[in-house]
């Protein structure tokens, strides 16, 4: 299969708008689960408003949240795919810019020093385009994530040392969730990266924060910490919007990587309740949203 740049451009545009309007089914089910478990009256009202908002967005064909986020595209290229990588990344960038101008969408992207907004949702190194490979035959998967800033500002890295152990990792996560309170728009998905280098650790936290609900860390030790912390954060009483209640997080997600004998890094990256993502597969048969 040869990857067609025009198809990639159209898809990059469509996925941005689709991600902003339709919440994935796993997140909708997450709301049902949290609502069933919630006992606090204010928290139940707030969860009800969030669920109503999902329906209003669908009914009025509107964006779920005004924050169009930092655009992230995760491209996974399978086997027996011929592609021009430069043309592909340029096509994604054009698609992102066209979604912004043609829908139109608020451009939430500025130069980091001048703070100038080009009104395109693009800038230096933005959109973020992550390219990876897998063994699916003649398949290209593109996932689009508009990462909202309220929760992205809830990002933390600590280069702990081996003597601190896994205890310090858990303490770090709990303390950061308390520190963030309502600012990160709970109920959240708390993404935790453990291990790697500083940059990989932060990236692991982002992978964890944007992983579908219902998935589990592939490493058994990571999965164990994931389960323990998921229970613990909902005992804090922070609740939806930080106004009290059980539903502080849908789940804590952990991703791990091997690290150095002298290192014990931990990172936190939070995803707000508007856990938006949209994905599609390109195969010889055409394009399908998944």
């Amino acid at each position: 299969m040869r990857l067609d740049s025009n198809e990639v451009e159209e898809l990059a545009k469509a996925l941005y708008v689709r991600a902003l309007k339709l919440l994935p089914p796993d997140v909708k089910r997450g709301f049902e689960r949290l609502t069933r478990a919630e006992t606090d009256a204010t928290a139940r009202t707030i969860l009800g408003t969030m669920v109503e908002n999902i329906a209003v967005a669908e009914r009025t064909n509107n964006l779920l949240c005004q924050d169009t986020g930092i655009p992230i595209y995760n491209v996974t290229i399978g086997r027996n795919v011929a592609f021009d990588g430069v043309a592909m990344t340029q096509a994604i960038r054009r698609g992102c810019e066209r979604a912004t101008r043609e829908h139109p969408l608020r451009s939430s992207v500025v130069h980091p020093i001048t703070r100038r907004n080009e009104q395109t949702s693009c800038g230096i190194r933005i959109p973020i385009i992550n390219v990876d490979f897998d063994d699916r035959d003649e398949t290209v998967a593109i996932e689009m994530i508009p990462k909202g800033s309220g929760s992205e500002n809830g990002s933390f890295l600590q280069m702990l040392i081996p003597a601190d152990g896994a205890k310090a990792i858990k303490r770090f996560v709990i303390d950061r969730v308390i520190e963030c309170g309502g600012r990160v728009c709970p109920p959240t998905i708390v993404g935790v990266g453990i291990g790697g280098t500083s940059d990989l650790c932060m990236h692991l936290a982002k992978i964890a924060a944007t992983r579908p609900l219902g998935t589990t860390c592939s490493d058994p030790e990571g999965a164990r910490i994931e389960a323990e912390l998921s229970e613990a954060v909902n005992e804090l009483g922070i609740g939806p919007q930080g106004l009290g209640g059980r539903a502080t997080a849908f789940r804590v997600h952990v991703e791990v990587a091997a690290t150095h004998i002298t290192m014990n890094p931990v990172a936190v990256n939070i995803q707000c309740h508007s856990a938006r993502r949209a994905a599609a597969l390109i195969t010889p048969g055409g394009v399908a949203f998944v």
């Binding site: 908002n53 779920l64 308390i178 990160v184 009483g237 009290g244």
Partner: protein
């Protein structure tokens, strides 16, 4: 736990009657403001042609569509999606916004800190919480964009919205030193050690 319907602008007495746990619905006019607007106003010394005295500001930057000016509405924008951003980044601007421009109510999400609470007590103000991330719903409470100032900062301009039934909002910070955000934070910190012990941490 009273419900208040507030026609903007409001008086100091109306604002001081608000208590945490009360709810409120806003009617009339609402101004949209955020990071770049406030930085320009208070670090850059810019002023607005809008009269904000007794008014409410919402922490936002909207999604809008450019349109031809309509009869009876000279503003060249229509609202597409308007929602509320995290307030805490704007903490240092609450006092000057109240003392210089006369703002009485701040609408936001996530709450604000001690400097804002002090300003509310000294000058007569309150914070009303929107459910963040519920922007499609919030947009249905906005009838039109009436006007815009400082639009060189677009989308972080100073927006004038005409609203109808904007709410219900929850009063989470009042002029009597009450803050639900501080209460929830204190309760979480009180539970921290027991939770860490259970985790063996």
């Amino acid at each position: 736990m009273a419900h208040h319907v507030l026609d903007l602008p409001v008086s100091e007495a109306q604002v001081r009657a608000l208590r945490i746990g009360d709810t409120a619905t806003l009617e009339g006019t609402l101004f949209g403001i955020r990071d770049a607007t406030l930085i320009a106003m208070f670090d850059g010394g810019r002023t607005t042609r809008f009269d904000l005295k007794g008014h409410a500001v919402v922490h936002t930057a909207p999604n809008v569509r450019k349109i031809e000016p309509q009869p009876g509405n000279a503003c060249p924008y229509e609202p597409l999606c308007i929602g509320t951003t995290t307030s805490m980044r704007m903490e240092r601007f609450t006092r000057p916004l109240m003392s210089r421009d006369g703002v009485r109510l701040v609408i936001g999400k996530g709450g604000m800190g001690p400097a804002t609470l002090d300003a509310f007590r000294d000058l007569g103000g309150a914070y009303l919480a929107v459910v963040g991330g519920a922007a499609a719903l919030e947009t249905t409470w906005i009838e039109a964009i009436e006007d815009v100032d400082m639009d060189d900062l677009h989308p972080e301009s100073l927006w004038k919205f005409r609203i109808k039934g904007f709410g219900p909002l929850l009063v989470t910070m009042d002029s009597h030193g009450g803050s639900l955000h501080a209460d929830v934070n204190a309760a979480a910190l009180a539970r921290r050690d027991a939770i860490l012990a259970k985790l063996g941490a």
